[in-house]
Amino acid sequence: MQKIIEARGICKKFGKTQALKDISFEVSEGEIFGFIGPDGAGKTTLFRIIATLLIPDEGTMEVMGLDSVSGYRELRKNIGYMPGRFSLYQDLSVEENLNFYATVFGTTLKENYDLIADIYSHIEPFKKRLAGKLSGGMKQKLALSCALIHKPGLLILDEPTTGVDAVSRAEFWGMLRNLRQHNITIIVSTPYMDEAMKCDRVALIQAGRILSVNQPDKIREQFTRKLFSVQAPEKYKLIHALRSYPGTVTAYPFGDSVHVTFRSDEFDNSLYEYLRGMGITNVVIHETRAGIEDRFLELMEKGTTAIDRG
């Protein structure tokens, strides 16, 4: 399959801050490729380099067969970019925003209506409303429609679901899936681990480095230990107790439970006794499948210990 993005050894510094360090990855045509990582991991910087808005200090970024630095003019015709901030004209109506971006990219709303119909139909009833007066979910749909209006080969979405309610988020991912039939490659960043599962492949990114690139399921499988889910009425107390238990390797909160790994990958009655001694009863423990987040935390843990040693 054709490669849409090929990044090799990308480095970027802002003053003394190393925003990106030796980033390499490839994205194939038609993929939904996710970048998962906390705030400040370097996702936005990386996306701006892909979108020809920043020049990397080192390394090469090839997008749709063009160098993102020298071929920026050609590239800008074929990229749909949705920045992290809501970046539409608040004082223009929904329709005016859309028409503006359509003319700027040399097309019309009619011409590519089928492409955005699925998304735009949600906000079309409000097309006379000013963009600044839309709800978060609707703004996001409008921004996506605007980024898509010229049928770009590559869609770059920087944290599109941040600040959007859960229902709209689920809808949004459904729309992205539907876009695959139009052969549009999508790269998307998100701080939400649960959204990683909806990508074809994800890159875990942290502190300017890519920790791992793989299919979401494979990333879960890469978890090296047996993982246990522990539940008890008082979660906060439970985490502290589990972390102080000598046999524990890691203990992280996960929803209403705590995900724990043990040195021996097993636990025995001494754990229950230990917890009872700490005043925690009604403990339920069962083995569970690792999620992306668990793997992410494991990789981060490794990274920091490696730095500690070195």
């Binding site: 920043l54 970046s87 005016e96 990219f105 040399g106």
Partner: protein, 369 residues
């Protein structure tokens, strides 16, 4: 081209949808013209004066009638003693008291001189000077009349200087060109720099950059609406000054409009330059207002004559584009001279425009920083 027109269309939508922008564009110029024309006017009109006539004869009657019928003054009170002077001035309504000495008429005829005292409120120095000048002016003319009819002597009055420079006694003549100059540079520079930095601040510039629009299309698209609106502004101001202040354009109207276009263009390129060096709207506003408005008012010769400035300031003033436009517009509007008299200034404005454009193109970022 279609792209470009779409962009221009969007800019117009921004302008017409924002009440504040419209107020700045059209409200402020009109307000400023009227303000400068009426309020800051240096003319006297119906200033209240009180009279203390210790002589009460035919001569004093004639002089006070002449003062009151001049249109500049109105009699507020007639006083009876020196003690009332302080009281009446303190009330703040009466701006001056005119005192005729005892036996004024007799002294004038027998000795050939008599004294009028003009007592003014020194807490308003401008007004005080104006009043003394006007009153002495009136007295001088009375003196001339007197000299014409009778052979008898002359008053000890000083010649009035103000009237030589502004014979029709109209302050608006000086202010209209100044206000046009000031308004155009502020609106053009301020509005363009703000609208471009607004795109930066709201993140829409990011999307515009990742579009096939070329930098010059973005900039030109920003400039064209303001160019048209500013031009309408010029016409509005000229109409206002004609109908409200009765100030016609003496020289060629076509030349005046052409020069205005050049000046608008120059101000717009300056605004673009400001936007390329400022990251936020606040910065842009600060540079435009502090960097442009103050120097324009203080150094362009708008209020203070450049000839009177210390040498160093004169050099700084030479770097102020408004200075040249004021010269041009005063020449065309008031003196009625033609292009031959302002070609140098026109050339300088063209050079400014080219320099600002060049710097803007060099500074415009096709990427983020």
């Amino acid at each position: 081209m279609k792209r470009f027109l779409g962009f221009v269309n969007k800019e117009f939508l921004h302008i017409f949808r924002d009440v504040r922008t419209l107020i700045i564009l059209f409200g402020i110029p009109v307000l400023q013209i009227l303000l400068f024309g009426f309020v800051v006017s240096t003319d006297l009109k119906n200033a209240q004066v009180a009279f203390l006539d210790l002589s009460q004869d035919e001569m004093t009657q004639k002089i006070s009638d002449k003062i009151c019928s001049s249109g500049f003054f109105r009699r507020s009170e007639t006083l009876l003693s020196y003690n009332d002077i302080d009281k009446v001035l303190r009330k703040n309504k009466t701006k001056a008291v005119i005192v005729f000495e005892k036996d004024f008429g007799r002294n004038l005829i027998s000795e050939g001189k008599a004294t009028i005292s003009i007592i003014t409120d020194g807490s308003e120095p401008n007004m005080a000077t104006l009043i003394t000048n006007y009153v002495t002016g009136i007295v001088t003319s009375f003196n001339m009349e007197l000299a014409g009819t009778q052979a008898a002597g002359t008053f000890l009055v000083q010649p009035e200087v103000r009237m030589f420079y502004n014979p029709s006694l109209k302050g608006h003549f000086m202010f209209v060109p100044g206000v046009i100059t000031l308004i155009l540079i502020i609106i053009c520079a301020l509005m363009t720099s703000v609208t471009i930095t607004r795109e930066k601040e709201f993140g829409t510039m990011e999307v515009l950059l990742v579009s096939p629009l070329k930098p010059f299309q973005i900039i030109l698209g920003k400039v064209i609406p303001y160019f048209l609106l500013s031009f309408i502004n010029v016409i509005l101001i000229l109409l206002l000054s004609w109908f409200v202040f009765g100030l016609p354009v003496k020289g060629s109207l076509v030349l005046l409009l052409a020069e205005s276009m050049l000046y608008i263009l120059m101000s717009l390129t300056l605004g673009i330059l400001i936007s390329t060096v400022s990251k936020t709207m606040q910065q842009a506003i600060f540079i435009s207002l502090v960097g442009m408005m103050l120097p324009t008012i203080l150094l362009s010769g708008f209020i203070f004559p450049i000839e009177n400035m210390p040498a160093g300031y004169g050099w700084v003033a030479a770097l102020m584009p408004p200075k040249y436009f004021i010269i041009i517009i005063k020449n065309i509007m008031i003196k009625g001279t033609g292009f031959l008299y302002v070609w140098k200034e026109t050339l300088i404005l063209i050079l400014f425009t080219l320099a600002f454009t060049g710097l803007s193109i060099r500074n415009f970022k096709i990427r983020l920083q």
